[in-house]
């Protein structure tokens, strides 16, 4: 309401109920700190990566342009992460802490007009193909995926459905984590000189798969955590020199991570999952879909970005702030497939989608652009231990 006073931290008076807007900083003990690691006086062994770094002793601090203040009260310390912009309502205590009575986020950004198609048009989303991994189980599933999309698999009905797939989006981690280490750091040079990086073979395989896909459908390829591109967000597109066969086709589109596009009037926005998994590590939220929804409400794709996730040091403007509400908001490399249609107060309709890791789940997602419905597709072969 208008009767609440909006104050800057420097203007706070003890005991006065007011509203303050600022950026959160979460002080975490377990947070990996490079300074601590290299500090000699501590003699610390570098901490192994943990799935979650949260601890009960974490504290929230609100910062605005000039000052910072500790927060306590009706605020879920475990759930929030550094970098969130929020407004808190409460009053300053005598001991210098701010007692929070309520808080709120930026909420959903303003909606985009809907220009979706009137007939069934599908977009296939897959992520985490994980090529180059040691195990070849997912290879047949990948081949089945390609076959379905290119219309070779399935009876006539299935093929005609597949013919309506207007776009395929590969959301990151096309290469597997196994392709990452080359042992050049650990082993002596004379041992590793002749060995090729595992990613070379994997990229060749990727090229062949993309070639098959490109001959029949436009493909957007986003880089991911394990792909040969830069580490910091926003990740640049894979270079087309790595994909000589597939690059010859205009249907291959190498795009950035995060990726925003208008497909047939439907606005897609998504990442390869690094932002969500980073928040997962520093927050008590466990569900990828919940985290995805929360980033949308907070108005920022990746609040933890410069702090714990590598990010280009933008200083004038932050491109990760959500200024418009997309129609489909996805993240790749999630552990499971989840989807939810979110309705906003201003008429926003967003399909939240967590695209599962294909190498683990052999599942891809099919989104119908007409009504924003979504369906997972699972592929499987049969193994020595034929279950089901």
């Amino acid at each position: 309401g208008n009767d609440i006073a909006l104050r800057k931290l420097s203007e706070l008076q003890a005991g006065e109920k007011c509203c303050v807007v600022g950026t959160l900083f979460k002080d975490m003990q377990l947070q990996p700190s490079i300074l601590q690691e290299i500090s000699e006086e501590h003699n610390l062994v570098p901490q192994p990566p943990l799935p979650k770094y949260i601890q009960p002793s974490d504290e929230l601090i609100l910062e605005d342009e000039l000052q910072r203040i500790k927060l306590e009260g009706a605020i879920d310390v475990q759930r929030l992460v550094t970098g969130t912009i929020l407004a808190v309502y409460g009053s300053e205590q005598d001991d210098g802490r701010f007692l929070v009575e309520d808080h709120c986020f930026a909420d959903l950004p303003p909606p985009l007009p809907w220009n979706g198609p009137s007939s069934d048009r599908f977009v296939l989303l897959a992520s985490g193909l994980g090529l180059g991994s040691v195990s070849g189980e997912a290879l047949l599933s990948t081949q089945l995926l390609v076959d379905v999309v290119t219309g070779q698999l399935g009876a006539e009905g299935e093929q005609s459905c597949a013919a309506h797939i207007a776009r395929v989006i590969l959301a990151g981690n096309l290469l597997s984590q196994n392709t990452q280490s080359r042992d050049t750091i650990n082993k002596a040079k004379y041992l590793t000189k002749k060995t090729q990086a595992a990613s070379v073979e994997a990229v060749k395989m990727l090229d062949e798969i993309l070639l098959q896909l490109c001959t029949s459908v436009p493909v957007d390829v986003m880089p991911g955590e394990f792909d040969p591109t830069n580490y910091t967000l926003p990740q640049q597109p894979l270079h087309r020199c790595m994909l000589p066969l597939a690059s010859a086709y205009a249907t291959l589109r190498l795009v950035t991570n995060p990726y925003q596009a208008n497909l047939d009037g439907v606005r897609f926005l998504g990442t390869s999952g690094q932002n969500i998994s980073d928040i997962f590590k520093y927050s008590s939220m466990d569900d990828y879909l919940e985290i995805l929804e929360w980033t949308l409400l907070a108005g920022h794709i990746s609040p933890t970005a410069p702090d714990t996730l590598g990010c280009y040091p933008f200083y004038k403007s932050d491109p990760f702030i959500l200024t418009e509400c997309p129609h489909v908001y996805f993240c790749g490399n999630a552990p499971h497939f989840q989807s939810k249609l979110l309705q906003g107060n201003e008429g926003q309709r967003v399909l939240l989608l967590t695209v599962p890791d294909f190498s683990a789940t052999q599942t891809a997602c099919l989104v119908n652009l007409r009504d924003l419905s979504c369906q997972p597709i699972t592929f499987s072969g049969f193994g020595a231990d034929s279950e089901d």
Partner: protein
């Protein structure tokens, strides 16, 4: 009967050659549509089973359908062995398709032989992997420049009169893959051109031309500059004036493109510039423009510049005909297709925007450098056979440069 033939084929593959015959493999091998291949496999299985109930045939099927899982509908596509087929079918609430995936003599433990078969056959047919597929995409056309030497002669002339106003201009032959050899040559040429540029009296002239081209050069992140730089590094000499190296090779490149009809891609692309002169070429430029990046426009500028220089070069060459007879004749021979349109272009600057006029004075100044460049072109020609340098031999080139140095000292 044609029908019987394929049955025999499949029989041969499965029993005699002991292959794993997947529908995809059969489709590529017999050259039939995938659906037809599936039908063939099905027929074969039916017949074989009827004839000989003890047939050693193991069949795998592909089942696809909807499954109710965790409350929502999930689509499942699975390859199953025959014995598990019914179980899978019963699990699915609705079945979208069932068809034969493969036939083989031996019982498969897992699906990797299926994958390997498909992988091998696709690998050998990568270029037309969608030929027998049920879905065809109109947009999936490979970008290969040398798909047709379209109207080489007429294309070349427009290219000559490239306008500086190449705002949309192209020339960016997109896929570098098609032109590595010519570019390498140009790279070598560029290297020599750079060496020529080192001559003091030309540096200031070069600098001017460079100033015009520098933005273009820096902007041009296209393959040609990179190839040139590769060549430069390889020779390890043209470090003095990197920009020059980059810019100059662009120009000889343009010329080379003129004389080489096979690399016609860039030529039609240049035509946007010549829209004023050759209205007929409009369709091509429009097409190419879509594909090309903005940086290419700078290249067009440079090439334009280069074209401007050509008449001067030719004229300068004529002056020294007495010393370098064979050379100049060759170079003139090489230039003939171009100079004629150039001369047309040069006298008709009116449709040209300001940039071109700027280039013209620059080009005159650079003519001396151009002269050297021309020489270098000849030198370069020894690397590969050019129609222009028919009679030019290695020794000839060496002599040529020697005479040139003599001339300059005079």
């Amino acid at each position: 009967m044609a029908d019987e033939l394929y049955l025999e084929n499949i029989d041969e593959f499965v029993t005699d050659q002991n292959r794993v015959v997947t529908y995809k493999w059969l489709s590529y091998t017999l050259g039939v549509h995938v659906n037809q291949a599936k039908q063939m496999l099905y027929d074969y299985v039916e017949r074989k089973r009827k004839e000989n109930s003890g047939a050693q045939l193991h069949v795998t099927y592909l089942v696809a359908g909807n499954l109710l899982q965790n409350g929502h509908v999930c689509h499942k596509v699975a390859v199953v062995r025959e014995d598990k087929l019914e179980a899978m079918k019963s699990k699915l609430s609705t079945i979208a398709s069932v068809h034969v995936y493969s036939i083989q003599k031996a019982l498969l433990k897992d699906s990797s032989p299926l994958y390997n078969t498909d992988y091998d056959i696709v690998k050998t047919n990568l270029q037309h992997c969608s030929k027998f597929s049920a879905i065809h995409c109109a947009a999936a056309v490979p970008r290969t420049p040398p798909d047709a030497p379209r109207a080489p002669a007429s294309a070349q002339s427009p290219q000559r009169q490239r306008d500086a106003d190449a705002a949309g201009a192209v020339n960016g032959h997109g896929p570098p893959a098609a032109k590595p050899p010519p570019q390498q040559h140009r790279g070598i040429m560029g290297m020599f051109a750079a060496k020529a540029a080192a001559k003091p009296q030309d540096t200031h002239k070069e600098a001017k031309a460079e100033a015009k081209e520098a933005p273009g050069v820096s902007a041009a992140s296209s393959k040609p500059p990179t190839k040139n730089s590769i060549m430069n590094n390889f020779f390890g000499k043209a470090a003095m004036n990197k920009l020059k190296v980059n810019s100059v090779p662009e120009q000889p490149k343009e010329e080379k493109e003129v004389v080489k009809p096979s690399v016609a891609v860039a030529e039609p692309e240049s035509s946007p510039n010549t829209v004023a002169e050759k209205p007929g070429k409009k369709t091509e430029p429009a097409r190419i423009q879509q594909k090309d990046k903005k940086s290419k426009t700078k290249r067009a500028d440079r090439s334009d510049d280069e074209e401007e220089r050509d008449p001067e070069n030719v004229k300068k060459k004529r002056k020294r005909i007495k010393q370098l007879q064979s050379d100049s004749s060759d170079e003139e021979a090489d230039v003939p297709p171009s100079p004629t349109p150039e001369e047309e272009g040069a006298p008709s600057p009116p449709p040209v925007p300001a940039l071109k006029t700027e280039l013209e004075p620059a080009s005159t100044e650079v003519s001396a450098g151009g002269r050297k460049r021309k020489r270098k072109r000849v030198l370069k020609s020894k690397m590969f056979i050019d129609e222009e340098e028919g009679c030019m031999g290695k020794t000839g080139c060496a002599l040529h440069s020697l005479e040139l140095t003599l001339l300059l000292t005079i």
